[in-house]
Symmetry: C5
């Protein structure tokens, strides 16, 4: 996630970090060169093929169609991003609710200990899920928060977050078995644990099922070919203004396509992806505050305006 | 939130407060000046560069694409605004339901006292959340409604609203422990408390995760550059009508972009943001009416047609 | 709600009631006059300012942008209308379910009486909510359905519907206290009562939070200015056909803006608003049929094709 | 619902049944005639009113606006259709779940009988709802599946489906009263019965609240007037190609408007409406298969590619 | 589902597998030929019918309208695809939650056996559903995972997945009957089983109710006729560039229509459909990991970049 103070509209025009310019600058240079060549050759072309000239109208037609498709694509990508954020928001909500509800356990003196244990495990669940979604190694973050027995059960599993969830579930089941938790309270807590399972499942769904590949092929093809033909079409009307306008239009379309592509997989580590590190830390802070203990991890730093 | 009586369409044309004109008037003046300069120089330019003139067609193409993107942006911003409103609507609903359900507590003579206490705490929860979302100091509003012990537990916490929620949860847990509340009734009340936690979590989510920064950079850049080029493109066709039309079109686009930006963070204090002060007061009024006590705060006044 | 038999497409062209023509006919006349004046003066203008003429292309650009914004506005308004309808649909569903479930009360002989009482109170709840949303006086409708004690508790309250809901809740609570209702059955009924509270809260939310004011100012301004400039732009090309075409286009845009404005507040009494009177009557009919008693109110009549 | 094997794109061009051509062919003929007359008279007109000619640009403007509105209309209609389908899908799901859960009744030997009875009644509920939504007479379908006592209670009621639901509810209540069903199992079954009530309520909502009438008037007016003016506008440019192109464009717009109108009321018996007969039969088959008995009704036949 | 490593934009231009080119190449060739013929004959035509020429403006109008409708169609198709994916994601989530919750069964020593049995049956449910949705024979996959008694009950049934679900339900019911599962735990598990029923019902709904047939007829007709007329319209302006541009535009429209058609039925076996084989395997892996047993099936291989 890009984190910046709100800028004046004028300064926003010249922002480099936080825009997607770095990713598309290569293509823009190609288009600029095509524009210059096209204007330079246009006199010669019109002399030899006076009947075969590209003009603006076909580009209006295609450009608007393209805008509609890019709009569709960005809607879909943004919805994926926002659904992912909602699920992680639920993780925070459920973590708090679960720790809160442990207050009904008997005897009252044991509540603080149970809450601490739950806070550690729920945080470990969040970290394990983060690492699973990003394909990174969870061992450092888990070692800090879980007992060595618990760590042993996780070792080599495909879905470590699920095993942690199972251990929370077993702990709650034992409290009920020992009569320290009523049947009703168990039901309420079991529902919270199910909700954590839903968060994990939904995150895995978003991460494992991208937008159908054909859309990406189609978008890329249409946008690139369109942007390469555009300078040729503008030449007749705009003359030497062509490179300027063509690059500007291409910038709009390519940038939108690129943001759409970044948001499509919100669990990645690109600049516009979700700040899972920061979210994990917030979950730990909130869970630990309710449990009355100190968080074990540290808040990630903002580097170059990007929070990971 | 802007509060105005419904105006006749003709008077609506000249409304100053409630429109976003104040925020964009600077940019409109720049565009007006560019238009005048463009018309004044157009004769000279056409004489020297007869082949390089901006005309309307490229602007049709870009303008419609821009409109589609602005439409997408406004949809997303409005959905955030409306989701935020729904969550605060839920806060009101749950507050009422919770106070209502306390009627099953035993002995019946204690119900009134329990309801009053719940009304105070739920209201304090709403105020604490409001202050957290706006980054303001909650102490005045909380001191009015919470006991000094309760205030002490909140002091210096990151998420005071959660601590208040925990205190409600503990009170309900104690009622059950004392046998004054059945297991079932506890379950129903615990669900209400969970819902309040969801409202807080969802509000935090909206406040902490803006629309990806790149969209804002992209929108601002595209709209501003488009509006600055537009008068040049209109000059050839419209002559001295250019400043009028260019400023009108720029007004539409810039105003839409600005409303979208205001709605994106619905918990702010800009004119179009949610009236959290008024909502907190409504929650207190409703909760206190059901509990049969008088509200402690006062309704916020509408200043300059804006309700905060 | 407008209620008409399905008409043949040809007769639909000449419908007066049910269209929004009456509300916008004033503006259409203004636009017609502007058209005529514009055509009459066009010869003179072109002679004196041959370089400064409005033509169609800028209107294509603005018109399509306008259509996109109107589309957005109408989507949002329709969603508000439909959400409101859904909430009132839930009211009907929950009323039935609640009366249905009372069948588990003991002794069986008391079920009929309990059902009748519940049917009366739920209907009173619906009427109280309707009057609150429309800002009208509920006393006639309530006096018919509630006991005088119950009426006394409502007197002078801000949210009478909530007090009625509280009385239903207390009745159910007492049944449970007396052992005539099991804990489980109480839980199921309490959930229904919560749902009624949600319907009320959601309706209040829609009624109290209109679409941000700035959108209305912006829409009105853009549509009106556009429609006033349009005839001038069409003159050069269409000549004396201008008044016809300009008025037709203005009709489409103004009518859409007006429907959007009507649907925005679905609880009003304009022709396209929800038929709350009829809905209240349906709720009473359905509730009374299940309770085996006769409804007390009468079905509202359709006047001038409008059902209120 | 139209049921056809997937056709090759070329054969799809000449499909008559399943398209809405039959409904709009009248209007298309009118437009064709207007085109021919318009081309025939165009020479004479241009000679006498050389300054007042309709050309294509105003139609581009209006046509795109119209497309946006038709897009909005079709989205709304399709959402209604799909929500209706979802509700009936829920009916099937809940019917199965309910029958499934009856397996916990005591003594085990009675389960088969209870399941059969439930399967019959749930199917009768589906048929009663179907007939209510379509305004047809349910007696044949109900007589086949309900006992004569049950039939007597339904006689003359406004909402027969609700009475059937009440009888299911009473049966389940009695099982609990007799101790053959635990409290918990009753709660789970009561929730299923509530869900059936929701399906009925939601279906009634969709059937009783069409899209606001003004939209229909507006759509019809705009589409028809547009299509009638279009040939005049195309004449100057296209000459004798006008009738072909104008009819093709009119076909697209009128067909879309007509599909939108059909889907708006998904419970009707037009070709594109929901196949309620087939759905009822599927519900019966599924319910009876789980109950281990044979279905009483027969699958509806596909007539002329349409399944009702 | 198409599975490919992320390619550079330039290489993406030349991807053959994963695009829908193979399906539409026939139509593109027809359009290319029409273009060439149209350019070749254009001189002759303009000489004989100088007044009847197709030019670009009518195509702008129709093309944008078409883009809007295609956008609508793709939104609807994608929503169906995504809803299907969500349902199957729920299947995974519920399978895990169910196995997890079995941990509360008594005596503890029996938990492992119960979990294994549940894992096998839930996986069999997923496979049975997959085969039902695709119309293929489930016997191989079921024989591997179910006991022969269980297989016997499924034989010849219309909805085998439901019978497997019933067997899970009966197993859980027996545990409760034997007192090895508390009432509350039974309620929580029964809810999970209901959720599995919902997944099956929703999948059947999507599979059995395609987008209304008329939309498909209309889309195909409009896209094909439009693409066939387009080269004729472009000829006058573009000359020998026509075949290039016309084929490119036709590619965009036809490809989008084809992807929309593929996604509409997400349970098929086309390249862009859901990878149900892989999903079933993931469900088995996850369920077996939690149950501590080895999965019985093997992961499907990616063939030609397509995962089925």
């Amino acid at each position: 996630m890009i984190v910046r103070p709100r800028l004046h509209w004028f300064r926003l025009l010249f922002v480099w970090r936080g825009s997607v310019l770095p990713q598309i600058v290569g293509r823009l240079v190609v288009i600029f060169i095509v524009s210059v060549v096209s204007v330079a050759l246009s006199g010669w072309w019109l002399q030899h093929f006076p009947q075969s000239a590209l003009s603006i109208p076909p580009f209006t037609l295609m450009g608007i169609a393209l805008a509609i498709f890019l709009g569709f694509r960005n809607s879909v990508s943004y919805e994926r991003f926002w659904e992912a954020r909602k699920q992680w928001g639920s993780l925070l909500i459920v973590a708090r609710n679960l720790i809160n509800k442990l207050g009904v356990c008997q005897p009252e003196s044991s509540v603080a200990g149970l809450r601490e244990q739950a806070a550690r495990r729920v945080t470990a669940f969040a970290y394990a899920l983060k690492h699973q979604l990003r394909g990174t190694d969870p061992s450092d973050d888990l070692r800090l928060r879980l007992s060595s027995e618990c760590l042993a059960t996780i070792d080599g599993k495909l879905f470590p977050a699920q095993i942690i969830l199972q251990s929370i579930s077993e702990q709650v089941g034992m409290l009920r078995h020992d009569g320290r938790l009523s049947e009703m309270a168990w039901l309420a807590l079991a529902r919270d644990i199910d909700r954590l399972g839903e968060v994990a499942g939904a995150s895995e769904r978003i991460a494992s099922t991208p937008i159908p590949y054909t859309y990406r092929v189609l978008m890329n093809r249409t946008v690139v070919i369109y942007c390469l033909l555009l300078p040729i079409g503008l030449t007749t009307t705009l003359g030497w203004l062509t490179p300027l306008i063509a690059t500007f239009v291409a910038y709009s379309f390519l940038a939108l396509e690129t943001v759409g592509e970044q948001l499509e997989d919100p669990f990645g580590i690109e600049a516009n992806d979700l700040a899972l590190d920061a979210l994990c830390h917030t979950i730990e802070s909130a869970a630990c505050e309710l449990a009355g203990v100190a968080p074990l991890g540290q808040a990630p730093r903002v580097e170059d305006f990007v929070l990971t």
